[in-house]
């Protein structure tokens, strides 16, 4: 009986094709989401952090902004949405992949015929869903507590759509790239959070854009976060708030350009630097 079985398995092998990356990417995405939502600490931390920061900053700085016809609190809503997108993509991927590498999860996957693209697609599905949930949560608080008006036109939502997708993808790729930097899981959190924290200060998340020195803002402008904040201000704040910007306009064209460039650059960076092995595996 055992021989029959060997024969059938060997015989059927050449006919069966290897499963495709797209389908396995969907399966991995479903698996990643299931794992994510089962880890309660992680869910609470991920979603409550930006909401808590929005509440703190928007409550501390709540005066009217001169000439812009908005309150300082309202400035924080798009800023925190942008930071929330970056935290669910860049921060969570940077830390979680470093840990998966350190704990041999990546090595095990590498030992199977899973195509590498399926792993990254799975991660993108995860950040797409969590990033969207984070945005909805922050927007709900912004509308309910800080009188943010949701845009009425389809054009604004379309703008929001591409800023969200390009920003999230760029940050996710950067997160995947930075996950190769920390030597171990222990150091991953600091390695990932430090640059993210600095970027939040110089990109107009914590500190209003018209208060930050130009040279700092120019450094921030090299990275996606500044442009995500700017674009989301354009979507969720009245036109009168435009005067606060460096150039006095929302600069959608340049935003699209920078974010798209980061998607391409981030992808190249990932392809060049991604490690499946931990350092002790050489």
């Amino acid at each position: 009986m055992t021989t029959t079985r060997t024969e059938t398995r060997t015989a059927s092998r050449p006919a069966a094709a290897l499963p495709g990356a797209w389908r396995l990417g969907l399966a991995r995405g479903a698996l990643e989401l299931r794992q994510f939502f089962r880890e309660r600490d992680q869910v609470i931390f991920t979603f409550s952090f930006p909401v808590l920061f929005l509440f703190l900053f928007a409550s501390i700085f709540s005066d009217d902004v001169q000439g812009a016809d908005i309150t300082a609190s309202q400035l924080y809503v798009p800023a925190m949405i942008a930071a929330g997108i970056m935290s669910t993509s860049f921060q969570s991927l940077g830390i979680s992949i470093a840990m998966e590498r350190d704990q041999n999860v990546l090595r095990r996957l590498r030992g199977t015929p899973m195509p590498p693209a399926a792993y990254f697609l799975g991660k993108l599905w995860l950040v797409l869903v969590t990033g969207l949930l984070e945005t909805v949560l922050l927007l709900t608080v912004g509308v309910a507590v800080y009188d943010i008006e949701l845009p009425g036109g389809a054009a604004d939502w379309l703008t929001f759509g591409w800023i969200f997708v390009l920003g999230l993808t760029g940050c996710a790729l950067l997160g995947i790239a930075i996950s190769s930097v920390p030597k171990s899981a222990q150091s991953a959190t600091s390695v990932v959070i430090l640059p993210f924290l600095v970027l939040q200060f110089i990109s107009g998340v914590y500190i209003a854009i018209d208060t930050i020195p130009d040279w700092m803002l120019n450094i921030g402008a090299l990275f996606p976060l500044k442009w995500m904040c700017q674009g989301l201000r354009g979507v969720f704040l009245p036109e009168s708030a435009r005067i606060l910007e460096q150039t006095g306009s929302w600069e959608y064209g340049r935003i699209a350009l920078v974010l798209a460039a980061w998607c391409v650059g981030g992808l190249l960076l990932c392809l060049l630097t991604f490690r499946w092995k931990s350092r002790r595996d050489g």
Binding site: R13, L24, L31, R110, T112, M114, G282
Partner: protein, 290 residues
């Protein structure tokens, strides 16, 4: 066609394999040939180079020199097609996820073109009752069995096991041996490393004793015993009252000579042939440790 080529082509072929880590030479010129359907044991003390060899077979580690073929392909450069045909059980397990045993095995089955039935595999490794349990709630031994399940769910032609039973209690080890025997019966080629002689003897059709990065001896357990037990040890108590011993290929002559010198009965006479364990310890230079 499979059947004709399958019998002649080796499942694993290694020639002149070398690997250094900095100043340390881990593998110093190893040659191996494992036939299809064979259970091959790499036996040796810790640090002998067994794991490095298997990790090179897995495609997980680069080599400095030598030719390596697994199912006809070089694992160092082979892609998904080869990985779909081999199963790997690593020495150190990976972190438990927030998934159940069933979800994990079912998910890994999806990576393969013609996987085994996940439920059957879970039963085979003895985790049937735990199939709904989260992986993090499993004991160390149960996680190891899950590792084995993930290694075989793709229906591999070659299964590479690195120290599979380290940390098992005796009952679990015996159960694992039965599983390996069952897989071998199905025709799976199995390469395993172990530092338990008992395990190598129970499982392996053939084994290679590895020491200091080289193959010190190779053959079936019976062959090894025959080849290395030509010298018998004759022990007796001498005229001076002290214990003497002599290793000799002609123990009968030694005994005859002793008998003449003692004029009859030889005090404390003992003639012994080495056990497989003696041979192993001798080959690996651990004799003095006993």
């Amino acid at each position: 066609m499979d059947a004709t080529t399958g019998d002649t082509e080796a499942a694993v072929e290694v020639r002149g394999l070398r690997k250094r880590y900095g100043d340390v030479t881990a593998v110093d010129g190893i040659d191996l040939r494992v036939g299809r359907g064979e259970v091959f044991g790499l036996l040796g003390p810790n640090g002998a180079g067994k794991s490095t060899t298997v990790e090179i077979l897995q495609g997980h580690r680069t080599r400095d020199a030598g030719d390596v073929r697994v199912l006809g392909s070089d694992p160092g450069s082979a892609g998904r097609e080869l990985r779909a045909r081999i199963g790997i059980v690593w020495q150190d397990e990976s972190a438990p996820a927030e998934l159940t045993v069933d979800e994990t095995v079912r998910h890994f089955a999806r990576y393969y073109p013609s996987p085994r039935d996940p439920g059957e595999v879970i039963g085979l490794v003895g985790l049937g009752e735990k199939s709904g349990a989260r992986v993090k709630s499993l004991s160390g031994g149960q996680r190891r069995r899950l590792d084995v399940a993930l290694g075989i769910v793709g229906g591999p032609e070659v299964l590479l096991l690195d120290e599979p039973t380290t940390g098992f209690d005796p009952a679990a080890r015996r159960q694992f041996w039965e599983l390996v025997a069952a897989l071998a019966d199905e025709g799976t080629t199995i390469v395993l490393t172990t530092h338990y002689l008992e395990e190598a003897e129970a499982l392996a059709d053939r084994l290679a004793v590895i020491t200091a990065g080289r193959v010190a001896a190779e053959g079936s357990p019976a062959e090894l015993r025959r080849l290395h037990s030509s010298l018998a040890t004759v022990e007796w108590t001498g005229h001076d009252g002290r214990a003497h011993s002599e290793r000799t290929g002609t123990p009968t002559r030694t005994v005859a000579e002793l008998s003449a010198s003692f004029d009859g009965e030889i005090p404390g006479l003992r003639i012994s042939r080495p056990t497989l364990e003696d041979i192993y310890l001798g080959l690996t230079g651990q004799e003095s440790a006993r």
